[in-house]
């Protein structure tokens, strides 16, 4: 089974953050509260499909670009 990332989520879909593929990026995401084990949901997609808005743990949202979202592996 291929690994799915946040970039592959459909609008409204929920998933659990598993790991990160990019170290410097992961540090940034961690500090902003993107923790392995938290639930992430794709809330909104900006026009032209990029960037996207996700909410983490259901109570606060981040927006990030697709290539950034692709470094967050989910299950």
């Amino acid at each position: 089974m291929s690994k799915r990332s946040v970039a592959d989520l459909k609008k409204g879909e929920r998933a659990i953050i598993k790991s990160f593929t990019d170290r410097p990026m992961s540090l940034k995401l961690l500090e902003m509260g993107c923790l392995p084990g938290s639930e992430i949901r794709l809330d909104a997609v900006a026009p032209f499909g990029d960037p996207i808005c996700v909410s983490i743990g259901g109570f606060y949202s981040l927006s990030l670009r697709l290539n950034e979202a692709a470094t967050i592996i989910v299950e």
């Binding site: 940034k28 500090e31 923790l35 259901g58 109570f59 606060y60 927006s63």
Partner: protein, 725 residues
Amino acid sequence: MALVGNPNCGKSSLFNQLTGLRQKTGNFPGVTVERKFGTFRLSHAAAEVAVPEPVVVETTPTEAPISVSNNEALLVDLPGIYSIYPKSYDEQVVMDILANPSHPDYPDAVIVVADASNLQRNLLLHSELADLGLPIVLALNMLDIASSMKLTVSATQLAMQLGVPVVKINARTGEGKENLKVALRQVLNGDSVQPSGYFFDPSEAVPDLIEEVKQTYDLTNNYLALQYVCQHDNFTFLDQPRRARLDTLIEKYRFDETEFLADETIARYERLKPIVAKVVKAEGKTEQPVWTRRLDRLLLHPIWGYAMFLLVLLVIFQAVFAWAEYPMNWLDAGMAQLIEWTKEVLPEGVLNDLLTDGLLAGIGGVVIFIPQIAFLFALVSLLEESGYMARVMVIMDRLMRRFGLNGKSVVPLISGVACAVPAIMSTRSINNRYERLLTILVTPLMSCSARLPIYTILIALVVPDRTVLGFLNLAGLVLLGLYLLGLVGALLSAWLFSTFIPRRETSYFILEMPTYKLPRWNHVGIMMFESVKSFVLEAGKIIVAISIVLWVLASYGPGDKMERAAERAAVEHAAASPQEKDAAIASAQLENSYAGHFGKFIEPAIRPLGYDWKIGIALISSFAAREVFVGTMATIYSIGRDAEEDVLTIKEKLRKERNPDTGAPMYSTAVSFSLLIFYAFAMMCMSTLAVVQRETNGWKWPLVQLAYMMTLAYVSAFVVYQLLS
């Protein structure tokens, strides 16, 4: 004392609540990061002691002696950060202060503001600061939002778990700020418990490295030693050899920074998880406020999102152009009356002329723009306050990226509509240096408020006052077009630059989306007041000074040339009516004054654009600051007129001006549009050049900017004039 917290946690509100109007802004020494500071009283009046809410501090409030003189505390508002590891230029200043006890801003106590609705992430920063050994009071904010999300947060539990005083506050209403002061006094007096032991002790993972750093740099704190290892390049208090020594230590112990920091952050969250679990009780499922998600569905929509953004922009321009016109007309008429009155009351002579044609005309050119600037800043700060600006960044990121910029460039570009100077300073929030440079280079192309006076007058001259589609003002639409032209110019220039300048770093766009909030009207008011004040004081000073200099240059000439020209004109027009004779004399005098000579000198260069030497004078004088253009025009034309016409407003004066060769109106459509385009693109602002020099650390970029903008302005104005004439 220092105020630290995540972005959007209510830190600035608390700062305003504590210091009120006793606040100032400046720069941190040696760096160009805005330093907001203010004072407040640590002890409170007896009546205020009876706060109903219990204090979550171990001891009861007692009037113990306070170590701070006069009970006054100096509070510094540090930039909002997620962690003490900086991600942008702005954020570096936080650790540069907190790691250096001899820094003038090094705090005796730190107020950490934490958002109760997102406690775990906010505590990450707290745990890092606590590990540095700083005395902390935790201000727990946004409890109302937490409870609306069905979360209950126990401050008592939190204080017990963390081992620091925790005070519940509401930064919007100021609730709990007296309790905060009580807790601060106890921390300053050493009466309160501070935690022992680390949340995360780096010496467990790399004991030898930490030990060696501690010994070499005479440190006692393990975590501070780690900061020396990780952040020494940003520490201005360490000299080059001391930094180089740390680099050798990193080599020696083969320390991998990014890996270590990611592990540290995870370890900290592991440590905080059980604490948060004990403190925060969730009743049911937590969700973001429903209306935030509903609004997002509309405002981020592929079609409606852009439509709304365009609508918002249109409202701004309608406000700035149409609604601001009424107060502007009052001011204009008031100034004209004041000038007329002064002329009559004071005895005739040089002093009278200097006062009315020089000083008052200059002041008139300043005050008239107060309504527009106030409207514009109020609307921009409303957008920021409400949380809409973050959505604009999201919908614009894709487009901005295409031009080599970042969604975050939108804020400087929109602020550039007000003034390029604060806009360029706001580029510091763009953490990518390359995108920041591009944004700095193109921001001055956005039509700033200083161009507005020029636009206003020239549009009023050539665009008929008509209503289109029932409610849109035609002049307003032309104005919108000029602003769009500035935007398109900025984007295309950014794209051109991005193809020439090689990119080194990868681009990031991670942004927290704040929930929509009702704007705090006092913040909007403060922002409006500050911007008008700085315009009147900063720009106004220059405008008035240049107006006076111009009056002198236009009233005096080399040798006796002016007198001889006047005599000649008197002879030539001897047969004409006295009025025509006076006008001919005045015009001949201006032509032979110092100002006239300057204008004539550059006339060959600007003739292809359709300008005469009078406009030449205005061009030269407005090089320092564009807004001077209108004041200059007022001075030039009031000198070239007789007393009766002095009371006319600038607009009418320009309309009456004739081309001496053809007799047709001087400000024809071709000349007016050529001037409009010239001012839309030209880099006519000393302050902007100065701030770019400061922000880019050198003269290379400001000079590049000056050259490219001037070329663009000249070429476009040339094309426009040749096409229209």
